[in-house]
Amino acid sequence: MSRLVRASDIGMVGCHVCRLVCAAPQPGEDAHCPRCGAGLHMRKRDSLARTWALLIAAALLYLPANIFPIMRTQSLFSRDDNTILSGVIELWRAGSADLAVIVFVASIVVPMMKFLVMGFLLVSIRRRSGWALRQRAKMYRVIELVGYWSMLDVFVVALLSALVHFKVLSRVEPLPGVIYFGLVVVLTMFAAMSFDPRLIWDNRDNDD
């Protein structure tokens, strides 16, 4: 197999919108793709700083998202506030273990994995690590692919609130926790988008 050449080494750049292979812009030059007109950048702008900022904001909001209840179930004699985790437990006890696992993965495992993996990728890039490059690249692709499934619980609360409306007998209402959770998902999606996976392969101390 011939040696693999990287675009940045030979003065080329791929348009991030239409993929046209273009000549790389000079530093400071405001270049646009000749085909689709989108701005051309060698790497996503301020990728590391932006990703850190969005990731930290998301992690901070993740606390109230889990501590505060997301949904209230009210009936004539009882009132029951559920957090994300207690909703999963309730689903498990009701005999739908499979769905409980799905919700647990979407609402707890996926966001946690996003924080850990993105944080790890950011740190390893800062350290110019040449370790497990392909695996780290793969980690990012998985995170990017599964991230938006965390919105699952938000939609469940919205649907139940709209459906369970039986006057005083039985009602479901959304509670503020669901707002925090929705924002966490959006912020982590922006964090994944502002991360540039090409940085994993840039500036390594030990080359492959």
Partner: protein
């Protein structure tokens, strides 16, 4: 118009000479193993047919009740917009806007923009506003969450079924079909339209 000769892996910046892919073939990056390109197995007419179907199903999914609940003689049903409006009036406006965007406006604009592009692409032409439309499509794509909503409907159904009588409505089937159509589309890279069309001579 023939395809450009080079392709760059978006995940690691490696440059490759592009070659035509056979049916079912996938081009993977030798450095980072990311998928660069798949064989585009649906022609433009086929894609347009799927988009037209998606539009019809999308309308049904938004009009028909998704599910109805029965509880001591009362019934209650909801549509997607019913859920959006409830979230708005129950003081969770942020969630209401999120749901309206990711389940209605973004998927709808995706369908309309893609349909518009494909309609012109049938004769190899570029629709008016082609590049703006292609850029919009690129930015809207990650924010369309119909598949997630479909799973959410199922979870909500199971949760509700412990206390209520649950009757699935037409809407739930429409969302299921829409999920299948979207899955087919997401295996397809809209950016191939750049290669399949040429600028209309003025």
């Amino acid at each position: 118009m023939e395809a450009p000769a080079l392709i760059i892996c978006e995940h690691c910046d490696t440059v490759y000479r592009r070659r035509p892919l056979a049916r079912g073939e996938v081009a993977r990056c030798a450095r980072c193993d990311a998928v660069m390109e798949r064989h585009q197995w649906i022609g433009i007419d086929g894609q347009l047919a799927l988009i037209a179907a998606a539009l019809v199903v999308f309308v049904i999914a938004n009009i028909a009740p998704i599910v109805s609940l029965g509880f001591s003689g009362m019934t209650s049903e909801t549509t997607l917009w019913g859920a959006v409006i409830t979230m708005w009036s129950d003081d969770t406006q942020v969630v209401s806007v999120l749901a309206a965007m990711t389940l209605f406006f973004f998927p709808l604009s995706q369908i309309l923009i893609f349909g518009w592009l494909l309609y012109f692409a049938r004769d190899g032409r570029r629709a008016p506003g082609f590049s703006q439309a292609m850029i919009a499509l690129y930015y809207v794509k990650p924010w369309s969450m119909i598949e997630v909503f479909m799973l959410g409907v199922l979870v909500a159904l199971v949760k509700a079924s412990t206390y209520f009588e649950v009757v699935p409505g037409v809407g739930i089937w429409a969302f299921a079909v829409l999920t299948v159509l979207i899955t087919i589309f997401s295996s397809h890279d809209a950016r191939s339209l750049w290669d399949e069309t040429r600028e209309t001579p003025r």
